[in-house]
């Protein structure tokens, strides 16, 4: 099952690469730098919404069922989410240097992703610091619920913080109208990253289960 998912991931990422570098047109103002978007946007969307969404469901599921398997899904989802958010921040930085002329700026979305990254790290830190597995799972589930419910709050607060006093005209790059092949390339890459996320989570759940069995 996991093996099939692995091959599917390879296939989807391959298709995504072909679309990003072969089919999608070269962006007029930014040039090839814009192609980072096909890595940056999918990892941001999956890391921000899918990973935290699954974290929320799995955390509530654990408190309701006390099933270790459900807790492992929450744990894995947080880990993969943090990884994807890290990819988002690094790829955004690499894109920002030639486009905005700086590695880092307190742009609304950049800040949102970074805060969620730190929240995810806090969650993983908590898990790592509690030795008793049952207790770690219980506390982590509570923090996981708070963290996931915080996503819209962080999103809105940071957006208002950056945009109310400073119109984003300078920081809103990209073409005015997105061409169709560009959009298709992006959507295929988002789908590919969703499958990649599922594959990583499945792998991590497997590993966590074996770890628990070995330690037990």
């Amino acid at each position: 099952m996991v093996r099939i998912l692995g091959w599917l991931t390879l296939l989807a990422l391959g298709a995504g690469l072909v679309m990003a570098f072969g089919v999608a047109p070269r962006e007029v103002t930014q040039g090839n730098v814009q192609r980072i978007m096909y890595l940056h946007v999918p990892s941001a969307i999956i890391g921000e919404y899918l990973a935290f969404g699954i974290l929320l469901l799995a955390s509530i599921g654990y408190l309701a069922t006390r099933s270790e398997a459900v807790d492992r899904v929450a744990h894995a989802s947080a880990e993969v989410g943090v990884l994807f958010l890290a990819i988002t921040i690094v790829s955004g930085s690499i894109w920002g240097k030639p486009t905005w002329g700086t590695w880092w700026t307190w742009d609304a979305r950049l800040t949102t992703v970074t805060i969620l990254f730190v929240i995810g790290l806090g969650y993983l830190l908590l898990r790592g610091m509690i030795e008793d597995a049952e207790r770690a799972a219980r506390y982590a589930a509570v923090v996981g619920i708070v963290a996931a419910l915080n996503v819209p709050l962080v999103h809105f607060s940071v957006y208002w913080w950056r945009t109310l006093h400073q119109p984003p005209s300078l920081l809103k790059p990209g073409p005015a109208s997105v061409s169709l092949s560009l959009l298709v390339a992006l959507l295929i890459n988002i789908a590919a990253f969703a499958i990649l996320y599922a594959y990583f989570v499945a792998k991590r759940v497997n590993l966590l289960r074996r770890e628990a069995e070995t330690l037990a």
Binding site: L63, I115, V118, I119, G122, L125, L126, M129, I130, E134, R135, R138, Y139, A141, V142, V143, I145, V146, A147, L149, N150, L153, V154, F156, S157, V158, W160, W161
Partner: protein, 225 residues
């Protein structure tokens, strides 16, 4: 015994202990005073700059003193071996949360009132006109800090790395509350009034509501076992 009565007993117990020992309050008053000196030394005597930074400084003071207050609210139960007795209390465990939350809010409001007075004296401010609006922001922000803070304080009270974990868990999750309070305070202090910050107040209310509900619902999972 009703829920409210059980919560009130927990609150009353904490208030009584605090009144007799004055442990937290003394330390927090002293801490607030030192904090003001630190701000003054770090930023220099330029009054214009201090006033411009005032909303941020004010909330920095509230957050730092608040974290000290919150962090020890369950620690005293562990240290005094009262934890088990607290858990033996019959009925819904979220009454303990309500009592502790009320106690923390009372302590934080006291320290915040004091900090405000110290700020007005040391930085030569006149807050008389904006005080009611400021009060609204302070209450909304403090509730946001205290709800999650009380929950996480119960969680980290008997962990080895509690001093480290408590702020690391709490601060990132409080980012929306902190942004909202600082921005709303800015609007109030600049004389724009609450209307200019209505979306921030809505966000703060939403955050408070989410945190209170999650706090009450998940507290029993935190203290079991």
């Amino acid at each position: 015994m009703s829920f409210a009565r059980r919560a009130l007993i927990v609150f009353w117990k904490d208030a009584l202990v605090e009144r007799r020992t004055k442990e937290a309050l003394n330390a927090l008053v002293f801490f607030s005073l030192v904090l003001l000196f630190v701000f003054q030394f770090a930023l220099g005597p330029d009054r214009e700059r201090l006033v411009a930074l005032l909303p941020g400084l004010l909330w920095l003071g509230f957050v730092l003193s608040g974290m000290l207050a919150l962090g020890r609210s369950f620690l005293i139960e562990r240290e005094n071996d009262c934890w088990e007795a607290l858990l033996l209390a019959p009925g819904d465990k979220s009454a303990i949360y309500a009592g502790k939350l009320a106690g923390n809010l009372a302590l934080m409001f006291t320290v915040e009132a004091l900090l405000l007075v110290l700020f007005t004296v040391f930085f030569n401010l006149d807050l008389t006109g904006v005080l009611p609006a400021l009060l609204v922001v302070v209450v909304l922000g403090t509730v946001g800090l205290a709800t999650l803070g009380t929950l996480f304080a119960a969680m980290t009270a008997d962990l080895r790395a509690r001093e480290l974990l408590f702020p690391v868990l709490l601060l990132p999750l409080e980012v929306p509350v902190l942004l909202g309070t600082v921005k709303a305070t800015e609007a109030v202090l600049s004389g724009e009034g609450l209307a200019a910050a209505s979306h921030w107040l809505a966000l703060l209310s939403a955050a408070d509501a989410v945190f209170v509900v999650v706090g009450f619902l998940t507290f029993e999972f935190v203290i079991e076992g």
